[in-house]
Symmetry: D3
């Protein structure tokens, strides 16, 4: 299996969406960036066994809370749920971030988490 095929499989398994759906808004002008995402983080990082996916996705939620990019935060809150985190664990880690990146980014990230939980009928 090629690096691309391996990465695509991992990405679609974690995100529970097809690659096409995830990148449909930008693939017509930048087809290579979805390939980069598939071949680098998904084929090369999320496949590594040193840390399990449940912990990896929680760390990504922490990172995206600090970064403040809401669309990707929502994608990875979904991914975090898909690989076995509970809504409570996700909220806990976002709250923890308030000590490191301040309350505004933490509060906006909890609002993003709530949107995901509502979309999935979890609350």
């Amino acid at each position: 299996m090629s690096r691309y095929e391996k990465g695509k499989q991992v990405l679609e398994s974690i995100q529970e969406k097809s690659l096409e759906e995830l990148f449909k808004s930008i693939d017509d002008i930048a087809p290579d960036i979805s390939r980069f995402v598939v071949e680098f983080p998904y084929a090369e990082i999320y496949t590594r066994q040193e840390v399990d996916l449940k912990t990896r996705e929680l760390c990504t939620v922490a990172a995206l809370t600090v970064l403040g990019t809401v669309p990707q935060l929502k994608d990875h809150i979904n991914a975090a749920l898909n690989v076995g985190n509970t809504p409570t664990e996700i909220v806990e880690i976002i709250m923890q971030m308030s000590a490191y990146c301040g309350f505004p980014k933490a509060i906006n990230s909890i609002a993003a988490a709530k949107e995901v939980f509502v979309e999935r009928d979890l609350i």
Copy 2:
């Protein structure tokens, strides 16, 4: 036990240093900020049972990689080791961050991790 005593105990247990040592450089001009750190993140967040300390500290390492504040990153790499993470797990999560905050911050954070590992005779 007061909130302060509880937080101080948790902080000193995680960091394996006394509060006085950790804040000695700033306590003479800002004595309250160490109290805030004790009473808010340590008494209120790291004591919560919803996520274990091992995962919490790995998420903090992820966050501080994105934030780029090296002294606190080193403190929490130490803390992450103290609560049961291996050097490999810490390096894995920092590498994972390169996809979210770019290579420069990831590489500088790996250099910080190496300094900690050397100080602790782990490599």
Copy 3:
């Protein structure tokens, strides 16, 4: 009066809104974060006499301009007005930030200030 009660009183007096209204969008999934905001910045910082509230809120507007989190910036532009700053003073400080965080964040923050001023019939 408990720390929570003191912080709640200060927050509601500065923001001129009830705590429930301010946090209604996230309190169902993360009830503790509003308590953290009440007990830490409001009970512990905004109550301190060393700097007056008018200056503190102007500094928070400066900080949130650099941070770029619009919802909290709007809350604190409201708060800055509530504790005695004029629209002119708020706009001045945001303009001053252009030298430190660049024009894009300053311009977007002035647009946020304008929304607040319109909501309050100030312009």
Copy 4:
């Protein structure tokens, strides 16, 4: 010609919009900030001959991708096109940024570029 007149001419030539239109949303509360933008970056920087405008605007697109301020990114994607960059060159530079600021900001910036390209009937 005064500094202001020179800067206004350069700004309007690069942006292909009148100064009034570009700043109409904030000029009533902060008339001086558009003057600062005219007199500092446009009169003083974009007029310098050491680097051509085509390269300057591509560098600004790179910077605004890292900064993450979408309205100004869209203005400068427009400007980059106006001074001779192709959509392909703009997308290339934004993709390149994924290595320095991570995929989330690069992907959101490509989505912003797509909006501009659609508005200009380029795709």
Copy 5:
């Protein structure tokens, strides 16, 4: 008096250093950037009467705490003292920032303040 002369006078009065001393490390390769700093923030912003210099410098300290650029933070802690702020007021505002940008940046900024206070024999 020209814009440059006015700005130079304000800058030197606030910073209590000559322009040459402040920019000596970079003036040989980028002589225009000190002119930009003189003509834009100092001639155009710090001269405005709408907010007094004491408050303006405290807001700049807040902003630079969030931004995390230590050399300029130290310059403006010096400036804040020069225009009438006490060490206590400066420390207060930096501590306040912990709620907005997290503890790491606030703690590193307090350490920078301490260096300035030691250099000025204030502690």
Copy 6:
């Protein structure tokens, strides 16, 4: 030629240093991150013909000025010189960034450029 070999060749040609030298400080604890840098940005991005290397490296200098990571900024100022940019062009683009990320980051980046120019006997 494999992706790795192609990327290594491009990286060493642009940086004018061996991969081993560039990553010697972290390769013992994180050998894969240098491979990621080789295989992703160097094999996949800097090899693309849509934008020439001279412009690409100037855009990277712009990005790293906004990001504020000095070691990588210095590496890419070196790279920018290696692929044909003059010191003047590099300083111009960093100065231009002051409008987008503020003066502190621009000034610190000019100081970094000066260190590189001195190391290369260019001034």
